[in-house]
C-alpha cells in the first residue's frame, strides 16, 4: 500500500498550481496599476498610510522643535499654523483611517473564509484616489500653500475673507476626495461581511473583528456625508460666494460646526473601534483562551456606534446653547462610557481566565491599556464643565487627545502588525529590535504627553507658535520635546524592525500563534487566491474545532475547488445563516480603476488652480470610464446554475435579482440619504436660528411646478418597475423606459423652475440653499438618465434576460431614490413659501 499522505500533499499542490494563474496579478510593471487583488491593494494601502504617518510624524517633530524653547526663531507663526494644521490633518485623514482600511482589506477575506473582497476593482479605485488626493495635499504643503486654520477648519477663519489663499481649498477638495475613497472601502466592507463568508458562518459565528469593522464601515457611510456636505458648502461659498456661513447674508458659521462634528465625533470611534477589534482578536490568542462575552461585545459595539451619533453638540458647549440642550448632550456623552466599559471588562476577563504569554503583540496591548486608561481619565476630567472652561484650547487637551489616539489607536495597530506579520510576509520575527523599540517608544510617549498636561494646566494655549521666557513652561516644553524625539526614534525602530523582518527572517510555520480563526488556515504568506477552497464551518473557532481543516481546505474539500471554469470565483452566503446562496464571479486585473481614479482626482483637484473647465471635462471622463467599467461586467448568455462543489449547484451572482452591484448601490444610497438628510438639516437649522432670516421673500410654487414634480416622481417610480417586469417576462422594456425618461425630464423641469425663479444664489443663504436642493434633484436626475440610457444599450446588446435582471433592478433602485428624495427636496424648497 502507498502512503496516502504524500498523495494528498500532491493534490494540494496541484490545486495551488491551478489557482495561481487565475488569481495572479500581471507580473510586468503594469501589474502595479492593474492589480485588484486584496493582498496587493491592502499591502500598497498599508505602505502608503505608513508613509503618511512618517510625514505626520516629521511635522510633529517640527512642532516640538519650535516649542522646545521660548521665543524660538525656528518657525514664524505663518509656518507654525500650517505645520500643526497639516500634522492634525495628515494624521487623522491620511494615516489613521487608511491604515485600518488597509488592515481590513488585507485580513477580512481570510477571516471570513472568502477569497477576496466583494468589489476588488472598487478597492483598487479607492487606493488610487487616496494616493492622488493625499499626494496633492502634501505637494501643496511643500509649496507653502497648505491650510492653516486647524484641522477642523472653522469658518469664518477659513472663509475667503480671512483665508484668501488656496489653503482651505486644498483641505476641502483634497480631504473630500479621500473621503470618497473611504466610502468606496466602506461599501466594499459592508457587502463583504454581510454576503461573502465561509459556508455555515452565521452572524453568531463571525470572527469578532468582522463585527467591529462592519459597524465601522456603516459608521463611515453615515458619518462622512455630513462632512462632505459641509466641505461642499464651504467650497461653494469660497468659490462662488453662496453665503452659507456668512451671517450678513443669512448664513451662520455655526452650521459648519454642526456638520463638522456630526462627522467628527463618530470619527473618533471610527478610529478607535478597528483598534479595539484588533485587541479583541489578538488578546484571546495571546491569553490562550477565547474572548469572554462575545454577544456582549457585539451589543456594545453596535450601541457605541449608534450612541456616538448623538454626541456631536458636546464639542459646541461654549457656543451659547440653552440648559436643556446642554443636558441632552451631557447625558448622552456620559452614556457612551458604558459600552466602552463593557469592552474593557471583556478584555480584562479574557486575560483573567487565560494564561497570557508576553509576546511582542501582547506587550503593545499592555502599552495600550496603560495609556488608554489615563487618556480616558483625562477625558472624564474634560467632561467636567468648570474644568473644561479652565483648560479649553490648552495643551492639556492636546495631551489628552494624543493619549487616546496614540494609546488607543497606534499602539494596538502596532500590536496587530506584529501579530499578523507571519500571515502577511510569511516570516516570523527573527531580529528582536521590536522589544527595544517598545521600551523606547512607550516611556518616551508618557514623558512627552504627561509633561504636556502641566503646560496646559499652567495655561499654555494650543495652536500658538511660541511663548515667553519666564512663563514657567520652559522646562516642561523642553522635556516634552526631548520625549518626542525619543519617541520618534522608537517609532522609526518599529518601522525598521517590521521592514527588516519582512525582507529577511526565518520562514514562519502555519498558524504560529495557534489561533482558531480562518485567516490562519492558509499557507504563509497567504497566497493571492486566499483559500484553495471555501470551507464549511460549524463554530466560531473552526481551526480549534477541526485541526485538519487547513489541510482539507488546501486539498480542495470545500466549495469551489474546481478550477475548470477558469475564472475568479467565490461563495456568496445568506446574510443570517451563512447558507451557500450564489457563486460570485470576481473581475480580473484591469487598469480601469486606475484611470477612473485619475479622472476623479482631476475633477476634484483642478479647481485648485482655477481650471474649472478641466474639472468639468474630467467629470465627463468619470461618467465615460464608469460606463466602460460597468459594460465589461455581465454576459450575453444565460449560464444557469453551476456546480459549486460538494454536490451543490448554485446560481451565478450575475443571474439573481440581487447581484452584488445591487447591494453596493443600496449601501451607496444609504450614504446618499444621509447626505441629503444633512442638507435638509442645514436648511432647517438656518431657517430656525440664523440671525438674518427670513429672507426678503420666499419662493412659492406654481401649479405647473407642483404637477411636474408629482407626475415626474410617479413616472420615475413606475417606469423602471414596469421595464424590469417586462424583462422578467421576456418582453421588451420600452414602454417602461420611455415612461421613466419622461418622469426624469418632468422632475428636472420642476427643479429648473426653482433656478429660474431665483437667479441669484449669492444673494441670501436661502437662495443658495434653493440652488442646492435643485442641484440635488438635477444631479440625481442626470445619474438616473445616464443609467436609463445605459440600460437601453444593455438590452439592445443582449445583456439582459429574465435571469439577468440585475442591471434593470439596480437602475430601479437609483430611480426610486431620485424620485423620492426629489419630491422631498422640492417640497422642502416650496414649504416656507406655501405657509408663510
Amino acid at each position: 500500500m502507498t502512503d496516502p499522505k504524500p498523495a494528498r500533499r500532491a493534490e494540494a499542490l496541484r490545486l495551488h498550481r491551478k489557482l495561481l494563474p487565475i488569481w495572479s496579478s500581471d507580473q510586468r510593471f503594469r501589474g502595479w496599476l492593474t492589480t485588484n487583488n486584496n493582498n496587493d491593494i491592502g499591502g500598497l494601502f498599508l505602505i502608503v498610510a505608513t508613509i503618511f504617518f512618517v510625514i505626520g510624524g516629521i511635522l510633529a517633530m517640527l512642532i516640538r522643535a519650535q516649542l522646545a524653547s521660548p521665543g524660538s526663531a525656528f518657525m514664524g507663526p505663518e509656518a507654525y499654523n500650517q505645520v500643526f494644521t497639516m500634522h492634525g490633518t495628515v494624521m487623522m485623514f491620511l494615516f489613521a483611517i487608511p491604515f485600518f482600511e488597509a488592515m481590513a482589506v488585507l485580513l477580512l477575506p481570510g477571516m471570513l473564509g472568502t477569497r477576496d473582497l466583494a468589489y476588488p476593482r472598487l478597492g483598487a479605485y479607492g487606493l488610487w484616489v487616496y494616493i492622488f488626493g493625499g499626494s496633492a495635499v502634501i505637494i501643496a504643503m511643500l509649496l507653502g500653500l497648505s491650510p492653516d486654520g486647524g484641522w477642523f477648519m472653522y469658518p469664518p477663519l477659513s472663509s475667503s475673507a480671512f483665508s484668501p489663499g488656496i489653503g482651505p481649498d486644498v483641505w476641502l477638495l483634497g480631504i473630500t476626495s479621500i473621503e470618497v475613497s473611504a466610502i468606496a472601502a466602506a461599501v466594499e466592507v459592508v457587502v463583504t461581511v454581510l454576503r461573502y463568508r465561509a459556508a455555515g458562518m452565521s452572524l453568531a459565528r463571525m470572527p469578532i473583528f468582522a463585527w467591529y469593522i462592519l459597524v465601522v464601515a456603516v459608521m463611515i457611510l453615515t458619518a462622512f456625508p455630513p462632512m462632505i456636505l459641509g466641505s461642499l458648502l464651504l467650497e461653494v461659498e469660497r468659490a462662488f460666494g453662496w453665503p452659507f456661513f456668512q451671517t450678513e447674508n443669512g448664513g451662520d458659521a455655526l452650521l459648519w460646526q454642526h456638520l463638522f462634528w456630526l462627522f467628527g465625533h463618530p470619527e473618533v470611534y471610527i478610529i478607535f473601534l478597528p483598534a479595539a477589534g484588533m485587541i479583541a482578536t489578538i488578546l484571546p490568542v495571546m491569553a490562550r483562551t477565547r474572548l469572554l462575552g462575545y454577544a456582549w461585545v457585539v451589543a456594545a459595539v453596535v450601541a457605541l456606534a449608534l450612541l456616538s451619533f448623538g454626541l456631536w453638540v458636546h464639542h459646541m458647549f461654549t457656543t451659547g446653547i440653552p440648559h436643556m440642550g446642554l443636558a441632552f448632550f451631557s447625558a448622552a456623552s456620559t452614556l457612551v462610557a458604558v459600552p466602552t466599559a463593557v469592552m474593557i471588562f471583556s478584555w480584562i476577563g479574557t486575560l483573567w481566565q487565560g494564561k497570557p504569554r508576553l509576546e511582542l503583540p501582547m506587550l503593545w496591548i499592555l502599552g495600550f491599556f496603560a495609556t488608554f486608561v489615563i487618556g480616558g481619565l483625562t477625558g472624564v476630567m474634560l467632561a467636567i464643565v468648570p474644568f473644561n472652561w479652565q483648560v479649553h484650547d490648552t495643551h492639556f487637551v492636546v495631551a489628552h487627545l494624543h493619549y487616546v489616539l496614540i494609546g488607543g489607536y497606534v499602539f494596538p495597530m502596532i500590536a496587530a502588525v506584529y501579530y499578523f506579520l507571519p500571515l502577511l510576509t510569511g516570516h516570523s520575527r527573527f531580529f528582536k529590535l521590536g522589544e527595544i523599540a517598545f521600551w523606547i517608544t512607550v516611556p518616551a510617549f508618557h514623558l512627552t504627553f504627561l509633561a504636556m498636561h502641566w503646560a496646559g494646566i499652567l495655561g499654555q494655549r494650543r495652536r500658538t507658535w511660541t511663548y515667553d521666557a519666564g512663563s514657567g513652561w520652559e522646562w516642561i516644553n523642553l522635556t516634552a520635546s526631548i520625549g518626542a524625539f525619543a519617541m520618534a526614534i522608537g517609532f522609526a525602530l518599529v518601522i525598521g524592525d517590521v521592514v527588516v523582518n519582512t525582507l529577511v527572517a526565518r520562514k514562519a510555520r502555519r498558524n504560529p500563534w495557534g489561533a482558531g480563526t480562518l485567516e490562519w488556515a492558509t499557507m504563509l504568506p497567504s497566497p493571492v487566491y486566499g483559500l484553495a477552497s471555501i470551507p464549511v464551518i460549524a463554530g466560531r473557532y473552526p481551526l480549534d474545532d477541526d485541526p485538519q481543516l487547513a489541510l482539507r481546505i488546501a486539498r480542495g474539500e470545500g466549495f469551489l475547488a474546481d478550477t475548470s471554469r477558469n475564472r475568479r470565483e467565490t461563495l456568496i452566503v445568506s446574510t443570517t445563516g451563512g447558507e451557500p446562496a450564489q457563486v460570485a464571479v470576481l473581475p480580473g486585473n484591469s487598469v480601469l480603476p486606475f484611470i477612473l481614479a485619475v479622472v476623479t482626482s482631476t475633477s476634484f483637484l483642478a479647481p485648485l488652480v482655477g481650471a474649472y473647465l478641466l474639472s468639468g471635462a474630467a467629470l465627463i471622463g468619470v461618467v465615460v470610464v464608469a460606463l466602460i467599467w460597468a459594460w465589461g461586467l455581465g454576459s450575453k448568455a444565460d449560464e444557469g446554475p453551476v456546480d459549486a462543489g460538494r454536490g451543490v449547484t448554485l446560481p451565478l451572482s450575475t443571474e439573481v435579482p440581487d447581484p452584488p452591484g445591487w447591494w453596493g448601490s443600496l449601501m451607496l444610497l444609504l450614504a446618499d440619504s444621509v447626505h441629503f438628510g444633512s442638507l435638509l438639516f442645514g436648511y432647517a437649522f438656518l431657517w430656525t436660528v440664523a440671525p438674518n432670516w427670513p429672507p426678503p421673500s420666499y419662493l412659492a410654487p406654481g401649479a405647473v411646478d407642483a404637477v411636474l414634480a408629482g407626475a415626474g416622481a410617479v413616472a420615475l417610480l413606475a417606469g423602471p418597475r414596469w421595464a424590469a417586469r417586462s424583462i422578467l417576462k421576456g418582453a421588451g422594456p420600452w414602454p417602461g423606459l420611455v415612461l421613466a425618461v419622461l418622469g426624469a425630464v418632468a422632475l428636472a423641469g420642476a427643479a429648473t423652475g426653482i433656478i429660474l425663479a431665483r437667479p441669484d444664489p449669492a444673494g441670501h443663504a436661502y437662495d443658495a440653499t434653493l440652488w442646492l436642493l435643485a442641484g440635488h434633484v438635477g444631479l440625481h436626475v442626470a445619474i438616473t438618465a445616464i443609467m436609463l440610457g445605459y440600460l437601453t444599450a444593455r438590452v439592445l446588446a443582449g445583456y439582459t434576460s429574465p435571469r439577468r435582471i440585475g442591471d434593470a433592478r439596480i437602475v430601479q433602485l437609483w430611480a426610486d431614490f431620485t424620485a423620492l428624495t426629489g419630491l422631498v427636496a422640492l417640497a422642502a424648497a416650496w414649504l416656507p413659501g406655501v405657509f408663510g
Binding site: L194, S202, L203, A204, A295, W296, V298, A299, V302, A303, L306, L307, F309, G310, V313, T318, T319, G320, I321, P322, H323, M324, G325, L326, A327, F328, A331, A332, L335, T575, T576, A684, F685, W687, T688, V689
Partner: protein, 116 residues
C-alpha cells in the same frame, strides 16, 4: 437582513427621537415658536417637549415588546438575545438622554454664555 434590522432598529429609533427632540427644542426656543403659539408659547413649548419625550419612550417600549414576541424577535439564540439587550439599552438611553426635557425649563440659557 431581518437580523441586521433586529439589531439596529431600536437604537436607530433612539437616534431619530433624540435628534428630533433636539430639533423641536431648537424650534421651541426660536422666534418662529412665539409667532406660532402667541402668549402661551412657553407653556406650549414645555408641553410639546414633554409630549415628545413620552412619545419617544412609548416607541422604545413598543420596540422591546415587539422584539419580545416570537414572531418578530426570532428564534432563541444569539441574535434574539443581543437585539433584546440592545432594545433595552435604547429604552434606558431614551430615559436618560431625553429625561432633561421634564426636569429643566425649555429655554433658559447659562448666564455666562448669554453675555458672550
Amino acid at each position: 437582513m431581518t437580523d441586521i434590522a433586529r439589531l439596529s432598529v431600536p437604537l436607530t429609533l433612539w437616534l431619530i427621537s433624540f435628534s428630533g427632540l433636539y430639533g423641536l427644542h431648537g424650534l421651541v426656543c426660536s422666534g418662529h415658536w412665539t409667532r406660532l403659539a402667541g402668549s402661551g408659547a412657553e407653556v406650549a413649548g414645555q408641553t410639546a417637549l414633554i409630549a415628545g419625550f413620552l412619545a419617544a419612550l412609548l416607541v422604545q417600549a413598543v420596540a422591546v415588546a415587539v422584539l419580545w414576541t416570537q414572531r418578530f424577535g426570532g428564534p432563541p439564540g444569539f441574535v434574539r438575545t443581543t437585539s433584546l439587550a440592545l432594545a433595552l439599552v435604547a429604552l434606558v438611553a431614551t430615559l436618560w438622554t431625553l429625561g432633561p426635557s421634564v426636569a429643566l425649563p425649555a429655554c433658559a440659557w447659562p448666564s455666562a454664555t448669554v453675555a458672550g
